[in-house]
Point group: C2
Chain length 189, copies 2
DNA sequence: GTCTATAGGATGATAGAC
DNA sequence: GTCTATCATCCTATAGAC
């Protein structure tokens, strides 16, 4: 499958460039130059620039969706579930840190069909997380804060982890998980 | 000063559009259309598209810098200082939520001189925050976590607050401050 | 599978009329 | 202060040679 490998190479290269400057700032010529070929040659492997963006974002979005569904299906405490969500984000960050830039910042440049799919997945994801937090407040595991403040503060940390992980030369994943769980759940005092 | 007002109007309009799609995805024609004039007319008030970006980002970056310097200069506990930093971010978010999108996502499109100024301000800001956290760990106010994990988890929450504040129709600022301080400092359990 | 050439349109910015 | 007209350049994408 020579075809697939080359296509994968385009997607990985593009993800790295999108990570640095964003989808709209990177041209097909830029992607091609980074691979030492000409822009026209890219079209032998991909249909359009949009397709590259779509593959980058939706592949990772589906990993989040599947991961969250596994966590929700568990029969365990809310805190245990939150720990699992944190681990899910760390695992995806470690494996696809560059794709997360596009997912976070360039999703609005998806075309209609993919955009709808993405937005729906993201809303489902947040809704599942919200339910976990409400479960935790109901059972008394979590303090009775406004659930949206808890949801937002954990999720925004996890969503921007890719920025920080790249900068701080790749810590040990298990230490990162332990510290992050401790800070996000138990607080800092 | 009719001139200044028109220029301000351009900057406010551009910030709103950059918030929605990013600097590179918005054209001078888009900005002009949103003001019901033609693109060429913009150049009577501003020098270039770059100048618009620069004004949006650097004005807010300076507010963060000044605010942080005030907090650092205080003679108070680390926790009190962290509370002040949280309040600083909330105040700026409430007053300039749209400019924060450009500051977070489009700073890399600044031209060299402004880019250097911005990066330096951001590094100083993080360094000051880091010192506060280390002070807190040294005095025993904070748990002895890796300081970078604490720094990152608070800062990433505060930096993306603008996204969440826009979506959740403008909560009361004082309640937001109280809840955010409680969640970020005392944790959720 | 890559190339050159090019179509067809968008972009930032300027000149000059009103 | 805004307009029309325009320039030079960039963009995505295609056609067709090799």
């Amino acid at each position: 499958m020579e075809q697939l490998n080359r296509k994968e190479e385009i997607i990985v290269t593009a993800a790295r460039l999108f990570y640095e400057k964003g989808y709209k700032a990177i041209s097909m010529r830029d992607i091609a130059a980074a691979m030492d070929i000409k822009a026209a040659s890219l079209y032998n492997h991909i249909k359009s620039k949009q397709e590259i963006l779509s593959e980058i974002i939706l592949k990772v979005a589906e990993e989040f969706t599947v991961g969250m569904e596994c966590v929700v299906a568990e029969n365990s405490s809310a805190i245990k579930k939150i720990e699992k969500v944190i681990e899910l984000h760390i695992d995806i960050t470690v494996n696809h840190s560059e794709a997360l830039a596009a997912l976070n910042n360039d999703w609005m440049h998806l075309e209609e069909l993919d955009l709808n799919a993405f937005v729906m997945m993201r809303e489902d994801y947040e809704q599942n997380f919200r339910k976990i937090i409400k479960q935790g407040i109901d059972t008394g595991e979590l303090k009775p804060h406004h659930p949206e403040v808890i949801l937002f503060s954990i999720l925004s940390t996890l969503r921007t982890l890719y920025l920080w992980y790249q900068k701080r030369g790749k810590l040990d994943v298990n230490i990162l998980k332990k510290d992050m769980i401790s800070v996000l759940i138990n607080g800092i005092v």
